[in-house]
Amino acid sequence: MRATWIIFRRELAAYFATPLAYVFIVVFLVLAGSLTFFLGGFFDRGQADLQPFFTFHPWLYLFLIPAIAMRLWAEERKTGTIELFLTLPVTTAQAVLGKFLAAWVFCGIALALTFPLWLTVNVLGEPDNGVILASYIGSWLMAGAFLAIGAAVSALTKNQVIAFVVAAVLCFLLTVSGSSVVLGFFTGWAPQIVVDTIASFSFISHFTSVMRGVIDLKDMVYFISLIVFFLFANTAIVELKKAD
C-alpha cells in the first residue's frame, strides 16, 4: 500500500509539473461547456438539471481519456525510465495501481472543476442534486474504465500515438455497442440474448441508467469489473513487455 501511495503521489505531481495538466483541464472544460450549451441546448430545455452536460461525457472521454492514458507506460518504456522504476523494490501490481489511481484522480479533478455548471443550475432552479451526484460518480467510474483500457494498451507499445489510436478505437467500440445503430443492425436476425449481451457491454447503456439517478449495483459492477480486469491485463502486459 505504501509503495502504491508513493507512486501515486509522484505520478499525480508529474501531471502538474508540465503543461499537460493545464492543457487537458482547459480543453476538457471548454469542450464540456460548449457541448452542454450548444449541442445540449442547456437553456432551451428550460429544465434545471445537468443531463445535457452528462450526455456528452462518453463521447468526450472517447478521445480525452486515451490522451491521458497513452503516456502512462509507453513513455516510461520509450525514455527507459521503466528500468530504474521497476528495479526499485516495488511489485508490478503496485506500479500499475499507483499510476492508474493518479490518472484517475487527475480525471476526477478535471471533472470536479465543472462545478460552476452545478452552481448555475442551482441558481436557476431547483435540480435534484441526488441525481447530479449520482451522475458525477457514474461519470468518474466510466472515466476509470476508459482509463484502465487506455493504460493497458499503453503498456503494449513504446509509441504513444499508437497507444492513443488503439485505445480510442477500443473505447469507441465499447461505447457504440449500445447505440441504436449497432443494436438495430443486430435486431431482427440475431437472437435477443445476443442483442442484450452487446448492449450490456456498452458504456452508454450503463451510464444512461446512472444519469437517471439510479445507482444500480449492476452498473457499478460493470464499470468496476472493467477496471479490475484491465488492471490485471495491464500488470501482465508490463511483466511481459517491460524489457522489450
Binding site: 509522484r10 525510465t81 528495479t87 523494490p89
Partner: protein
C-alpha cells in the same frame, strides 16, 4: 568470503539469439568486480537480470541470498542499480527524484532528508538540485543515477558504465567513491575504460559472446600479455648481433627480437618469467654500452583484445 552475489548458469535467449550463455560467478563482500566485454557481449543483459528487470531464460541470480525471481522485493531492497543510459524522470528535479526513490526505499522524514543529503554530497549534485533533470548535462544525469543507487547504502551495487559521459576529474571522483565504499559491499562495475579497471577493481571478468572467457585479478590477467616481463635493452647497434645470440642462449628466454631499427633488443621470456636479474648481470659483464634496460608490463588492453577477438592470438611457440 561471504557470497553477496551468486549467479548460476544464467542464460538469456532472445528468439534465436543467446545473449547470455550459462554465465556463473559469485562476488563477495569487499570485492570490486570489473565486468568487461565488447559491445553486445551480454554485459548489460546480465546486469539487467541481476537487478531483476529481465527474467532469465534459465539459471538464477541471487542478491544476499535472495533469489531475484523468487523473492524480488527482498533482493531489490539490498541492491543499488544504475542502469545504462539516462534513466531518471526528465521532468523531475534531482531533489524530487531522490526524494521519490528514498520514499520507495522506505525512508521518511528526517531520515529521508539525511539520506538525500549524503547521496547528494557523494555524487556532487549540490549545484543542480532544483533543475529539471531534462536540462542537465550527461555527466550530471549519470550522477543523479549514481546518487539514487547509493541512497539506501545497499550491500550490493551494480553499476552499468557509471563513468560514461563524465569528464576525467569526475571519473576520478567516481572511482574514488567506489573504492571508498567497497569495504562492506560487493560491487559490480561494467566499463569500457580498462585503466579504470586496473586502478580500481580487485577482480575482472571478461565476457564475450555471452560467455565468461576470463576471470582473475587485473594484474593476473595483464600477465597473460606475451610481452609481460619482457626486457627491453637499448645498446650500441654494433654489438646487437652478439648480444642477441648471447641473450638468446640464456635459460628461460623464448625469443629475442630486434626493435627500434637495431638500437634495441626485446627479450621475451617463457611463461612471463622475470629475467631482469640475469639479463642485467650479463649486460654488465659485456661491453655492449647499454643505455637503457627496462622491464615491460603486460597490458590489460592487449589481453582483452586477444581474448575477445580484436587481436589474433599469438602463435604457439
Amino acid at each position: 568470503m561471504e557470497e553477496m552475489i551468486a549467479i548460476r548458469n544464467l542464460t538469456k535467449r532472445f528468439g534465436a539469439i543467446t545473449a547470455v550463455d550459462h554465465v556463473s560467478f559469485a562476488v563477495g563482500r569487499g570485492e570490486i568486480l570489473g565486468f568487461l566485454g565488447p559491445n553486445g557481449a551480454g554485459k548489460s543483459t546480465t546486469m539487467k537480470m541481476l537487478a531483476g528487470f529481465l527474467a532469465p531464460s534459465s539459471g538464477s541470480a541471487a542478491v544476499c541470498g535472495f533469489d531475484v525471481q523468487q523473492q524480488p522485493i527482498q533482493a531489490k531492497s539490498q541492491l543499488g542499480y544504475l542502469p545504462e543510459g539516462a534513466s531518471a524522470y526528465p521532468d523531475m528535479t534531482p531533489r524530487g527524484f531522490l526524494g521519490f526513490v528514498a520514499a520507495i526505499r522506505g525512508f521518511d522524514g528526517a531520515e529521508r532528508a539525511k539520506r538525500i543529503a549524503i547521496a547528494v554530497e557523494r555524487a556532487n549534485l549540490q549545484d543542480v538540485l532544483e533543475q529539471p533533470i531534462d536540462t542537465l548535462s550527461k555527466g550530471f544525469k549519470r550522477r543523479v543515477g549514481l546518487a539514487q543507487a547509493l541512497i539506501h547504502d545497499p550491500k550490493v551495487l551494480v553499476l552499468d558504465e557509471p563513468t560514461d559521459g563524465l569528464d576525467p576529474n569526475q571519473k576520478f571522483e567516481v572511482r574514488r567513491l567506489i573504492e571508498a565504499m567497497a569495504a562492506d559491499k560487493a560491487i559490480v562495475v561494467s566499463t569500457h575504460i580498462l585503466e579504470e579497471v586496473e586502478a580500481a577493481c580487485t577482480r575482472v571478468i571478461i565476457i564475450a559472446g555471452g560467455r565468461v572467457v576470463a576471470d582473475g585479478t587485473p594484474a593476473g590477467l595483464a600477465a597473460r600479455d606475451p610481452i609481460h616481463n619482457a626486457v627491453l635493452l637499448r645498446l650500441d647497434p654494433s654489438a646487437a648481433e652478439v648480444a642477441r645470440a648471447k641473450l638468446g642462449a640464456l635459460d628461460g628466454v623464448k625469443a629475442v627480437d630486434t626493435v627500434e631499427n637495431g638500437a634495441g633488443l626485446l627479450v621475451r621470456p617463457v611463461d612471463g618469467r622475470s629475467l631482469v636479474a640475469e639479463i642485467g648481470a650479463l649486460a654488465r659483464s659485456e661491453p655492449w654500452r647499454v643505455s637503457e634496460l627496462r622491464v615491460e608490463h603486460g597490458r590489460l588492453e592487449t589481453v582483452f583484445r586477444q581474448i575477445t577477438g580484436g587481436l589474433p592470438m599469438p602463435a604457439a611457440a
